[in-house]
Structures are given as C-alpha cells and as structure tokens.
C-alpha cells in the first residue's frame, strides 16, 4: 500500500472536476454542432445543389430574357406584326361595349347571389332537417307525422326580407323558401348563359390574338420573354426542398423496394429535370449555365425530352429506367446505387439503353435506343443466338421440335384408334342385345370421325413445320455442302486463323489445340455430302460479273475489298478472299440460288435423302418449296439451305459472270498446307465429340447433328443474375478492388458487377480461365472469342444488363395489343433479312446502299424505293403477292416486277406465309392503315371524264409516260418509274392522290415532279396549261387523274404511247 503524505486530501472529495466537465461539455457542444451540420447539410447535399442551381439558372434566364426581349422588340417593330397587333386591338375594341354590358349583368347576378345565399342556406338547413325528421317518423304514427309535416310547411312559409339589388339601386323584396330556391337556380342558369355569350362575343378578338401568337411563334420559336420571366420568378422564389416523384401502381412493386411502389428523389439534386422549372421545350446543358467544367453540377435537363413524352415522369419516375437508388440522397454514390448492397445501380453512360431493354425486350428495334438496337443486331449477326437461347429471338427450331413431337404423338394416337375400331366392331358383333351392340358401333364410328379430325390437325402441323423449316436460318453456312464448296486445306487453316484470314467475319475464334483442329476438320470433311455431283460450269465474264455485283444490290449485305478499301454492308461476309477457298461450280450454283441444296434432309428419318429414295417411289429427284414432302413418309423435308441469303433471280449466265469475278478475288500468295489427315477415319469420332462440345451446330448445319440444342446458357434474364452466380474465378478479389486482369488499375474502380463480368468475358471469353489449372482442354471455358470491338461490347453488354427478370410491373412492359404489335413483330423479320441494307424503312434511317459511291448525287435515283409510306401506298393483297414473287411473273423471273428499269433488284426471299403476313401487317401498321384492308372504291369515269383525263395524262406539261414504264421494251429503255398498269392492283387511290399532288412531302428528293397541281377553291387544279376540253370542268383534277390511272387498260396505254414523244427523262 502506497504511503501517502498525511496532508494530502481525499482525492474523491477534493479533486476538482471543473476542467473535465468543461472539456466534456465542450465536446458535447461540438458534437451537437456537428450533428446539426450533418442534419442540414452533410446528409442533405441537395440543399447546396439547389442553391447553386437557383443562382446559375437565374443568371442564365436573365441573359435569355434580355436576348429574347431584344428579338421581340425587333419583331414588334415589323409592319406585319403591327398590322396583326392593330387587328387584335380593333377586334378587342369592337367587342368592348357588348362585353362591358355582359360584365355588368354578370356583376349584378353575383351581387344578387351574394344577398340570396345566407337566407337560402338558412332555409335549406331548416327544411332539410325537418324533412329528415318527418321521414324518420313511422307511417303508423299518423298524428306525429301530420304535426311534423305542418312544421315543415311552416318552415317553408317563413319569409325573408332582402335588399334586392337591381340595375337601378336596391329594393326590398320578400322571399319564402320556394322563392329562394327558384331564384337561386335561375341566377345560376342565367350567369352560365351570359358567360358563354361573352365567349362568343370575344371570338373575333381571340382569333386575332391567336393569329398574332402564331405569327410570333413561327418567327421566334421557344419561350417568350414573359414565359421566361415567369420561370425566373418561380426559380427565384423556389423553395429549397426535397423533391420526389411517387408512383404507386396498384398491387405492384417497383424495384421490389419497400413493397410500396416507387419513390424517386433524383430531382432533388438533378433540379433541371423538373419540367416545372425547365419546360420540355428547353434543353439545358452545363455549358448553358456556365458550369461546363464542373463535374459536380447535376444541372442538365433531360437530353431527350421526347422520351419523357412517352414515359411521363409521374408514371415512370427516374430509377426504373436509369437504375440507382431513388430514395437515397446523402451521397452521390448512394443515390446512384453504386455500392455493394444496391442491386440496381445506375447504368453507366455507355449502357444507358439497358434501361429500355427492361420493358422493350420484345422489340428488335426500339426507337431512341441505338446502342440497344445494335446490341440485338450483333447478338443475332455474330451468332450469339447459336449458342445462347434468348426469348424473343428466333426460336423456330424450338417450335419445330415441338411441332414434330405433336405430329409423332398424333400419329401414335391415330394408330391406336385405328386398332381400336375393329375391336369395338367385334365387341358389337358379339354383344348380347341391340342397345349394347349399337353402343359399340357408335363408339367405333366416333373414332373414325376422330381420326378424320386428327388428319386435318396433322395437315396443319405439317404446314406449320413447312413454314418453320423455311424460317429456320443458320448464322453460318451449311457444312454438309463443304466438300463441294470448299478447298480442303483451307478448313483447318480457317479454324485456327479465323479472324486473321477474314477480319470482318462473324465466326468467333475458338480456342483449339492443334489436334482438336485436325479432328474437327476431319469430322466436318468426312461427314459432308459427296453427291450428286454438281454440274460443271463454263467460265463467265468476270468484268460483267463485277458490274452485276455492284449494281444488283449485293453490296447491301456483302462487302468487297479489304482494309480501308472495304465497300458494302457488314450484314453478310466480306467476299474479297472467296477465290482462295471456294470451288467455282459451287459458287455458280450459290449465286444463282443460294437456297438450292444438294440433298433434302428428312427430320423424321434423320438423314439426307437421295435420288434412290425418290426412285423407289418412282418419283423424279425434285425437291423445292413446292415439292417439300418426303417420298418415304410424307413428312416435310428441309428442302432449302438454311441461309438468309435470297435469290436474285439471275440468269445462269449472269451467275457465272459473278462467280467468275468472285473466284478471281484472292491474294496472289494464298497458300494452305496440305491436310491429308482430314481423310483419316480415326479422327472422325473425336471430331464429332468436339463439334458437339463446342456447339458448332448452333450456327452451322452439320450432318448427324441436325437436332443439337444450344450449348450456352440462356441469357434472357442474365441482367438479374445475382453476382454470386457469375464466376470471376481467380479475379474475384481483383475485380472487387478495381484491378484489371493485366494488373493495372481500372478507370472506373471495382468491376465486380455484371457490367464488369460481361465486358471482360466478351473481350476475352477465356479470361476467367487465366491461372486456372485445367490440364484437360475440355474442362476449359468453351466460349469462343467473338469478333467484336469496344463499341460492340458496349452494345451487347447494354442489352444483357437490361435483360432482367421483370423487376417492373407487368403493365410497364411494352407489349402493345394494337397495330403497334404488328410493328414490333415486323422488325424482327425486317432485321432478320436486312431489308434496311437496301431500303429506307424508318424515317431518318439510312440504308447501306445510300452510303455507297455509286448511289451519290444524280445517281440517287438508282436506289431501291423508299418504303417509309409503303403501307399507305400499296394494297396489302398486292404486297403479299409481291413479297412472295417480286418478279410478279411465273415465267419471266430475271426481272423486277415493279421497277424493271432499276439495276438493283428486289430478290426473292422465299418468305414463309407467316413471314409475309407479318411483313404486310408491319408496313400497314407503320403507316397507320386499318386492318383488315377494305379497298377504297374508285368511281368509274364517264366518257367525257375519260377524255379530259386522257388529255391531262398526255399534257405536254406533265407527260407521265415520259418517265413511267409501259412494258414496251423500246420505250422502257429510258423509263425511270413504274408502269401505270400496276396501279390498279398495287396502289391505294388515296395515297396516289396525295402523291401526285405533293410527292416531295412523302419522299423528299424523289424524281417525281412536284407542283403539278395547285390548290384552288378547296380542290386541286392542274398547274400547266389546262387542256381545251377541261376548261369548264369544276371537279378535282388530281382525283380525275387518279381515277384514270386506276382504270387504265393496256390497250389505252399503247394508244397513248404513240402520242407522247419518248425522250430521256428521269423520275421515280
């Protein structure tokens, strides 16, 4: 025990705590101050954002107001404006006396009502209460009822004396209850009548004002200085407060958060997205506000206000499209949801369109979402779909499998029913009495009818599979034909050097060991067809072939040339090295008709049929869409190659010319090592296993593997896969810490998220194998490296990120039931066959051909037709026929049915019936045409009218036949527009009328002359010299011409042709 000096006081009693208490109290005070700061600013950064926004926006508005005022003053000084303004004043003055009179009347009525109201309320209250009491007295209590009734009548009889206002001062008037009631109603009725009368009175003044407003609006679009001043006032007086959008769709959860719908407070910081502060007509950028360099100024308004029109903020908020934590406000990181525990982080700029995909998964093309559209295009074009199932994309193979199963099931049912019939009949024969016997016979009879109905069902299923077989397209070529098509040595080289040999190819680069390459090549080679042999072709004219290739439209899909010399579309293969690998004879057949097969494939027998199968049944070896049933079992066969490439209906000579040109396209030093191992039968089985393993049959038709499924994982909901389900392998920790596989720091920080996974996987699918010990190559990740660049990766990542398991309510999904459904379905077909390579379909969209050098300037008129108004232009019945047979002829195929004068040719796509239906509906819907189509009646022409119309038709001011084709070869040499004889079946009269009066409006830049007619007294009158016999005609000239065109006969046209001199002219 320590010895303490005796004088020392007891520390418990004597030690002063003042200092300690002071410090503690000070600390407490400091902490309270801190918490107050945190409460008002630290946790509420939006306050300072709003403050700053208020000041920068006010400055901006002041500047705008000043500019606008100056502009307005200039405009106000113009005589036009002053004239209109004077008109407003005159009209206003004219209306003034009557207006004043009405106002006085209304004012009197208002005063009367004001006097009347208190006694009326008093009386009504009394009478109402007494009436209720009366009603409550039971019927049997007669005396009470009678006395209450008396009370009620007394109450009604009470009179009120009022100083009743009249036009000349007031006078005393007595009112009982009924008077009050009636007068009140009368006053209200009279006032309503007066108000509406005043409106009529003002009409001319209002019209004048509207004319003035329109005048100003046309010259000075945007907000006027008064509007801007109003904005400035509301901004200056803006409360600094939390702004939120609440959406509570009934019975649903948005983002599953909190279970009570959506609460988005994004506008608290992103102030300018509030339409009350920044109207949709303004788009505000940081540069406008003078804070362009400031990265902490979230003051831009929504850059695409059109999007907000379809997606109003009060229904969609912000976070359902953009992601992020709409409720969080304390830090940027939290609000944007970019932290571990928020499952819907804000999409990065490169992936904004992912938000669209959440609801627009069923669309091939989504307006305003170019990145997403590109992603979907790539997903199909690069063959991702060959391995990865994705709902909404082509699933004909699945449907076909289901259909086949149904057919098989139906057949076995039919068989068992057939067996049952004799048994039932026998039972009937043996029955003890007639009733029982009849019962059995009846059952047997019912079964025969059932069998008949099964037959019709099976017939439908066969038709369906016929359609489906026609629709199934593979991304890559048919490898059954490989022996006829390809030089043997090229195959193993290609497998190893895919992207080197053809840098633009769709085929991904597989990670193959040399022995795997050999085995795969050997299997492909040995399993391919060897005959019947192709006909030998003589060489063609390569120069002419080149001309054809460049003019027939091949370049809408294909490209030629390498590197910077590449010209043409990217939809199909680059043809510049075709000569190094292809056989000439095969190429001729392919160019002539790419759908032609060597042998038909029977899905039921699971083999390719040959001439011997047909011979057995005494049939010629002919198979095409019209002869698509198997001679052996009657089921549908695969009679075409599964390629989207259409037939251009070229003559065999032209095909040879093109093939000769293509076969000459090769590098002079092209050389491939001999590959004798490909004939080694020992390699075949190993090759087959590898081909199955790598999923080659997803993109290619391969003998023996026709029924292979997709080897990859389904990606329909990949965007909502929990991060734990994605294997970052040895990079898990690095991803969490923002370190790239190459050891460098990432720019965006940690990439342990779906975006990071997808991007790294797409750039190098083997990345998650790095560092892993996998001695057996088959244990490695098998995804091949797709041929994509950085933008492509962004696009595909965007698509995947948005492909979520509906985190939004079902009614947010874009699944229109009206004609837009036709548009939605149609885009899948349009993109599948690359219609947009040649045609402009969507307003503003450019086709591939439009960008090629041979279609510039004057030569634009050689382009295929613009289809933006196709649905309004043509008769859908005609369109159906045209799509099925663009030559519009069964005999003369080497031509274009409508625009025979164009070099570029509408090919035959061999669409299935279903595809044709979809396309027709698509065009109809795109042009807002009612469905089903009911043709518009065209009034027949009287003889006089016919004469007038003929004169107009052949008028020298509008020589229609100068440009339009007629079918006479001599004349058509110079034709640049379609034949009128087609009009009757092809066109819609209403569209034709609009077209001939103002074609520039429908297709800007068309060669069809505008201004042929002018508007006069509500109808169209010919602009040129009016023919003699029409001088007195009071009808519509354009209408007359349309009716004439729709009744034109070949004889008539031939007759007219003689009258019009044929000169070179161009028109559409």
């Amino acid at each position: 025990m320590p010895d303490l000096p005796p004088q020392q006081d007891d520390p418990i009693v004597s030690r002063p705590l003042n200092g300690l208490i002071l410090i503690s109290a000070f600390l407490l005070l400091l902490t309270v101050a801190w918490s107050l700061y945190s409460e008002f600013f630290g946790l509420r950064p939006w306050r300072s954002y709003q403050n700053r926004f208020r000041s920068v926006y006010a400055t901006y508005l002041q500047k705008q107001i000043a500019q606008r005022r100056a502009a307005e003053q200039t405009l106000y000084a113009t005589p036009d404006y002053q004239k209109l303004e004077a008109a407003v004043k005159t009209a206003g003055n004219a209306a003034l006396p009557a207006d004043r009179q009405i106002s006085e009347q209304i004012d009197l009525l208002d005063r009367q009502r004001a006097i009347l109201t208190p006694p009326f309320q008093d009386g009504r209250g009394r009478v109402g209460a007494l009436t209720y009491q009366l009603e409550q007295i039971p019927e049997r209590d007669k005396s009470a009822k009678a006395s209450k009734l008396k009370q009620l009548n007394d109450a009604k009889a009470v009179t009120y004396a009022l100083n009743w206002p009249t036009a000349n001062g007031t006078k005393l008037r007595q009112f009982n209850y009924d008077d009050l009631n009636n007068t009140f109603t009368a006053i209200m009725t009279e006032k309503a009548a007066l108000v509406s009368k005043r409106g009529d009175q003002d009409k001319s003044a209002k019209d004048a004002q509207a004319a003035l407003d329109t005048f100003v609006k046309e010259r000075l679009p945007g907000l006027g200085s008064t509007d801007l001043q109003g904005l400035l006032n509301s901004v200056s007086g803006m409360d600094i407060k939390l702004k939120q959008i609440n959406v509570n769709p009934p019975g649903t959860l948005i983002n599953y958060v909190g279970g009570v719908g959506l609460v988005d407070r994004c506008q608290s910081c992103h102030v300018a997205t509030d339409p009350l502060l920044v109207p949709a007509v303004m788009t505000l950028t940081r540069a406008d506000l003078g804070v362009a360099q400031d990265n902490d100024a979230p003051f831009t308004s929504h850059p695409d206000p059109d999007l907000l029109k379809f997606h109003p903020q009060e229904k969609f908020g912000c976070s359902p499209c953009h992601g992020g934590n709409g409720r969080a406000l304390d830090t940027v990181e939290r609000a944007h949801g970019r932290y571990e525990h928020w499952l819907w982080p804000l999409y990065y700029a490169a992936n904004y369109d992912a938000g669209c995909q959440q609801c627009h998964a069923a669309d091939a093309i989504t307006e305003h979402a170019p990145v997403l559209n590109r992603g979907k295009e790539l997903f199909r074009e690069k063959g991702c779909i060959g391995c990865h199932k994705f709902q909404g994309f082509d699933n004909q193979d699945d449907l076909l499998t289901a259909t086949r199963q149904q057919i098989t099931l139906l057949e076995s049912d039919r068989k068992s029913d057939e067996d049952e019939i004799p048994r039932l009949n026998k039972l009937g024969d043996q029955a003890s009495d007639n009733t029982v016997a009849n019962n059995f016979y009846q059952q047997a009879q019912n079964l025969t009818v059932t069998i008949a109905s099964m037959d019709s069902q099976e017939e439908q299923l066969e038709l369906k599979s016929h359609d489906l077989l026609q629709e199934i397209k593979k991304v890559g070529p048919d490898l059954k034909e490989v022996r006829m098509k390809i030089h043997k040595e090229w195959i193993p080289y290609w497998l190893e050097h895919t992207h080197e040999w053809r840098p633009t190819t769709k085929m991904p680069q597989f990670r193959l060991q040399p022995d795997e390459v050999q085995a795969i090549a050997a299997f492909i080679w040995q399993s391919a067809l060897t005959g019947p042999a192709l006909p030998k072709q003589t060489p063609g004219n390569a120069m002419h072939g080149k001309e054809l290739l460049e003019s027939r439209g091949c370049l809408g899909c294909h490209s030629v040339g390498e590197g910077s010399n590449t010209m043409g579309g990217t939809f199909a293969a680059n043809l510049s090295r075709v000569g190094e690998k292809d056989n000439y004879d095969y190429l001729v057949r392919w160019v002539h008709n790419p759908r032609e097969r060597t042998r038909p494939y029977s899905p039921f027998e699971k083999r390719d049929l040959g001439p011997e199968d047909y011979a057995k049944h005494g049939m010629p070896f002919v198979f095409d869409l019209a002869h698509s049933r198997s001679p052996n079992d009657g089921h549908e066969l695969v009679v075409q190659q599964p390629t989207v490439m259409p037939s251009l209906r070229l003559s065999i000579e032209d095909s040879r010319d093109i093939a000769s040109y293509l076969i000459a396209l090769k590098r002079p030093d092209a050389h491939f090592d001999p590959a004798d191992f490909m004939d080694d039968p020992k390699l075949k089985d190993k090759g087959k296993a590898l081909v199955q393993f790598y999923g080659c049959a997803g993109c290619h038709e391969i003998a023996g593997l026709e029924d292979e499924g997709r080897v990859g994982t389904e990606l329909t909901n990949e965007g909502s896969k929990p991060i734990e389900r994605l294997d970052f392998a040895l990079f898990t920790e690095d991803a969490k810490r923002g370190i790239e596989p190459d050891g460098k720091k990432t720019t965006r920080g940690p990439w342990y998220d779906l975006k990071g996974f997808f991007e790294h996987k797409l750039a190098n699918p083997a990345v998650y194998d790095i560092g892993k010990y996998k001695p057996n190559p088959l244990d490695r990740l098998r995804m091949p490296r797709p041929n994509v660049n950085g933008d492509d990766i962004d696009a595909i990542t965007t698509m995947l990120l948005g492909s979520t398991d509906a985190s939004l309510p079902p009614d947010y999904m874009y699944k229109p039931a009206d004609d837009r459904a036709g548009i939605q379905k149609g885009w899948w077909i349009v993109t599948k066959y690359n219609c947009m390579g040649c045609h402009q379909i969507d307003i503003g969209q450019k086709s591939v051909l439009m960008g090629l050098p041979m279609y510039q300037g004057e030569d634009k008129i050689n382009l295929p037709p613009v289809l933006t108004s196709e649905g309004a232009r043509v008769n859908p019945e005609w369109l159906k026929n045209f799509l099925a047979n663009p030559a519009l002829s069964t005999t003369d195929l080497n031509r274009d049915g409508v625009r025979s004068y164009l070099q570029v040719r509408m090919p035959t796509f061999f669409f299935s019936d279903d595809e044709i239906r979809t396309l027709v509906l698509f065009f109809e819907a795109l042009s807002h045409q009612a469905e089903p189509f009911i043709p518009q009646k065209v009034e027949p022409l009287s003889t006089t009218e016919a004469g007038m119309a003929r004169a107009l038709f052949t008028s020298t001011a509008a020589p229609c036949l100068k440009c339009h084709a007629t079918g006479e070869p001599a004349h058509d040499k110079n034709a640049t527009a379609p034949n009128f004889l087609l009009a009757k079946d092809r066109l819609r009269p209403a569209w034709t009328g609009r077209w001939i009066t103002n074609p520039q409006l429908i297709i800007p830049g068309t060669a069809m002359p505008s201004g042929l007619f002018r508007r006069e007294n509500d109808h169209w009158v010919f602009s040129g010299p009016i023919p003699e016999n029409m001088r007195t005609y009071s009808g519509d000239h354009a209408d007359l011409l349309v009716r004439y065109m729709f009744t034109l006969t070949p004889e008539e046209q031939r007759l007219l042709l003689g009258r019009t001199t044929t000169t070179t002219a161009r028109g559409n």
């Binding site: 025990m1 320590p2 303490l4 005796p6 020392q8 007891d10 520390p11 418990i12 009693v13 705590l17 300690l20 208490i21 503690s24 109290a25 600390l27 407490l28 902490t31 309270v32 801190w34 918490s35 945190s38 599953y256 958060v257 571990e340 525990h341 928020w342 499952l343 929990p722 734990e724 389900r725 392998a729 040895l730 898990t732 920790e733 810490r737």
Partner: protein, 337 residues
C-alpha cells in the same frame, strides 16, 4: 497467403465489426484495471488482518487509503459528478459513432442466394462458432439454455460469503477463474474467431490472408466411431454383429446404428467421470477452497460440478476438432455430441 493488409482493414473497418474491435481493447483493459484494484485490496486486507487495531478504526476497503479520509462520502456530489462526466463522454461517443458509421443495411434478402460468409450479429458469433463443434441441436439449443440456467444458478450455488462490494482476487479465486474461462476464454475468444478468422465457407483464415471464396482446403472430419484403429474387434465392433444377435430378426438392420449409439455412450461417460473428478479436485485444491466446499450442500456441489463439466466440454471438443479432426464422439439419429 498472409500480408493482405487491405483485407484486414476491410474486416476491422466494417461497421458491423466495430464493437468487436473495441472489445479487443476494452476487455483486456478492464480486466487489468479490475485486477489492479483487486491486488491493492488484497494487500489492504492482508495488512488489516495483521493489524486488528487498524481494522477496528476501519476504513473503506478500497485502495488508496489514508487514515484521515472520511470513512464514507456522499453520493451527491462526489459520485454523481463523476457519473455525469461519464454520461457526457458516452453520449459524445455514441453521437460521433452514429455520425460517422451508418447502420450496415444490406440489400433485400434473396432466398435463392446465401451470402458467403453468412455471419450472425456479433453478439451471436460465439454461438455460431459453437456450431462448428456440435450439432445444431446441442450448439443452438442445449448449450445456450445451459448457459442461461448456469447464470441463473450462480447466486444459489455460491457458498463463498466474501468479496461482495469490493474487488478482490484472493477471496474469490474460484469464481474469477470460472468466469475468466467461460466468458473471456470461451465467449470472447469465440466471438473474435467468428469475426476475424472465419471467412467464406466458414474456413479458417489467419488475419491478413485474403478471404478467397474459391479456396479449397482439406478439412474432412470423421466421427470417432469411424476412425480406424480406435474401435477394433471385440465388443465395440461397429458392424454391430454382436448386437444383431440380441435383436429380433426383423430388426437386425438396426444393429450397426445401435452398436454405434452404444459405443458412443462410453467415451462420453468416461469424460463425465474424469472431468467431474477433476472439478472436485479443483474445488478442494486449497484450504480456503476446502472451507467453502464444506459449506456447500450436496445439491450445490452436484450442480456446480455438472455445470463446470459441461462448460469444459466445449474447449475439449474444440481441441478434438481442430487437432484431431474429430467431428462427433457420440452419434445418434437424434443428436450428436
């Protein structure tokens, strides 16, 4: 691989783990502080025992002490003002804590994905750690119940009248050791293990090694009755052939399992006997202890012994598991030990 300081920082800086980091410092500090006071008091007691006169003048039995000081002081202001300062400082601490660290809220739970590691709140981590050594029935239900019953029993089995109201070690050596073993040695240590050592897959990661969810380790455990060599031949043959003879033919299939159950009883029983005797020895290890022991009734002795034996079972099992990779000693279809 050690040396991943980033990982260590992530663990200790997680808002969830802040109380445990504090615990690591506060528990040793207060233990030291209490023992310092106890030691001083023990010295004072010794001195006063030696000097009966001084004992009569009587002083606070706390250190420091001076004869001139009052024997008692008033609660107000002398105690209250200290408590007031303490209250202010704790308030400051809690406010700063709540301002700087947000509540560790996570995403809405997804029933299809289990987080890895899935950890209980820090105060339950000891229980969760126990699940490694016992089956859920024992670790999750029986043991926690026993802990609570044991705590409730303390006033009734404590026969030592000394050491109330002041810190002392010498007078309550047994109680202090029991507490230190149970609370610090087991509870606090298990919480620390659960917090800092157990990573993904509840695998053992030494501090500063990376918590790699992909890690694969050899951690195959076996039940005592399956270890070759432990049970061979004779009566305890696990194939149960000897039990089969005793069973009706229809039930012969149950023989192996029955044999295992019967086998398991023996090691457990042996442990109970040995441990009880060891506890008995400890309770009589000194004269002082013997005096207390003699004051106890039979019920008190049996309860104390039983509770201590059960408590000791935990470290024993931990060692068996970690060193000998033994999963269960006694396996039955209903519970395992």
């Amino acid at each position: 691989m050690l040396g991943d300081w980033h990982q260590l920082w992530e663990i200790v800086s997680a808002p969830d783990n802040v109380p445990i980091v504090a615990l690591l410092f506060l528990v040793p500090f207060y233990v030291w502080y209490a023992f310092r006071q106890a030691r001083a008091n023990d010295e004072l007691i010794e001195k006063l025992e030696a000097d009966p006169a001084a004992a009569k003048t009587a002083h606070r039995k706390t250190q420091p002490y001076h004869p001139k000081w009052d024997r008692e002081v008033h609660t107000w202001p002398y105690l209250m003002r200290v408590e007031f300062v303490a209250a202010i400082l704790v308030t400051v601490l809690l406010m700063v804590w709540s301002l700087t660290l947000n509540a560790p809220l996570e995403e809405p739970s997804n029933p299809n994905v289990t987080m890895n590691p899935a950890k209980a709140p820090w105060y339950f981590l000891g229980l969760q750690e126990m699940l490694v050594y016992f089956d859920p029935w024992i670790a999750g239900v029986v043991m926690p119940t026993l802990i609570i019953i044991g705590l409730m029993c303390i006033p009734y089995i404590d026969a030592n009248p000394l050491g109330n109201g002041y810190y002392t070690y010498k007078q309550r050596r047994f109680a202090i050791w029991t507490f230190s073993l149970g609370f610090i040695g087991l509870w606090v240590v298990m919480i620390s293990i659960g917090t800092f050592i157990r990573g993904p897959g509840w695998m053992w990661f030494w501090p500063t090694s990376t918590w790699d969810a992909e890690r694969v380790e050899y951690a195959v455990n076996r039940n005592l009755d399956t270890i070759p060599g432990v049970v061979t031949g004779g009566l305890f043959q696990i194939n149960g052939s000897w039990v089969a003879h005793l069973l009706p033919t229809a039930n012969r299939d149950y023989a192996p399992i029955l044999a295992r159950i019967i086998f398991g009883i023996f090691p457990v029983a042996i442990y109970f006997m040995v441990a009880s005797y060891a506890v008995y020895l400890v309770m009589n290890s000194t004269n002082f202890a013997q005096r207390i022991f003699r004051r106890m009734t039979l019920l008190q002795i049996v309860t104390t012994d039983l509770l201590l034996v059960l408590m000791l079972a935990l470290p024993v099992k931990i060692l068996l598991r970690l060193i000998f990779r033994i999963k269960y000693i006694w396996v039955t279809p209903w519970f395992s030990i």
